[in-house]
Assembly symmetry: C2
Homo-oligomer: 162 residues x 2
């Protein structure tokens, strides 16, 4: 089963695809969708919509996970990230892919075992646990893999009745 | 020329269409798109996307105006409204309709002449200035007309060189 993790943003949306069999995870793809800051907001969202749609068509994820955006951000950021995450929700719902949402703390807990792990620790652990020689670049791609890993662990924990 | 005003929200997005010839305005349509709070976020955004697309196809607006969302809202609201406004931007950009954004204060200034007008005053003035017997219901529809009126006035002021 493929799980798609998404770290939404208007300038850059990270994505990561993991293949999960039970609690065993294998990295499939990771990267980022960038849009030009000089372009109109709507045109940037059209690009994001197109590129996310292509990702979903290519990898056919069974489930998706997205980072919740309302924590520790200012209003302008919440609005901008909200727009990008709205496009992600639209694309996934239109393709019939169920979406789970996790807070940044939950993602850190899942990957590092504690919610206060710093960004570098999380990225090193993502690489280590997925058997990658180093953390994927850019950071948003590694974050998206972490979100997908968080979802796989959460599913597994549910499956074993915790 | 038709101008589409949008007051974005996940539960309810108000819309209003005005026909403008210079500074002369005529109301064409006003209403709201509601989505069920019990549905998944993505499915609600799919409905909003579909209904907004139908509106744009039906009225073929030459320009659109949307209310800026980052003022006087909390983070959760900014995120939710951001998602809805992201869908609106997507639909309009995909249809090639230019979008202008106005703050709530700018909208009140344009319709009532001062930025501290209360909601009821704005709605009465919308009705009066568009020659309607009463303010359109729900309030979000009247707000959307006010946003469209703000845009028409702003265009007219620019055209006369102010």
């Amino acid at each position: 089963m493929f799980v798609l993790g998404i770290d939404p943003g208007l300038s850059r949306t990270g994505y990561g695809v993991i293949e999960a069999s039970g609690s065993v995870m294998r990295p499939v793809a990771a990267g980022a969708i960038n849009t030009e800051p000089g372009m109109a907001v709507g045109d940037r969202l059209v690009e994001l919509h197109r590129d996310l749609t292509e990702l979903v068509v290519e990898y056919q994820p069974a489930e998706a996970a997205i980072e919740a955006v309302f924590v520790n951000k200012n209003l302008q950021t919440a609005t901008t990230v909200g727009r990008a995450s709205g496009i992600a929700y639209l694309v996934l719902a239109a393709a019939g892919v169920p979406v789970a949402e996790y807070s940044p703390t939950a993602v850190k807990m899942a990957v590092a075992g504690y919610g206060n792990a710093d960004k570098n620790q999380v990225q090193r652990l993502v690489a280590m646990r997925l058997g990658l020689p180093e953390a994927p670049k850019p950071a948003d791609a590694a974050d998206a893999l972490a979100i997908a890993m968080c979802h796989v662990q959460s599913r597994t924990l549910k499956a074993v009745g915790r």
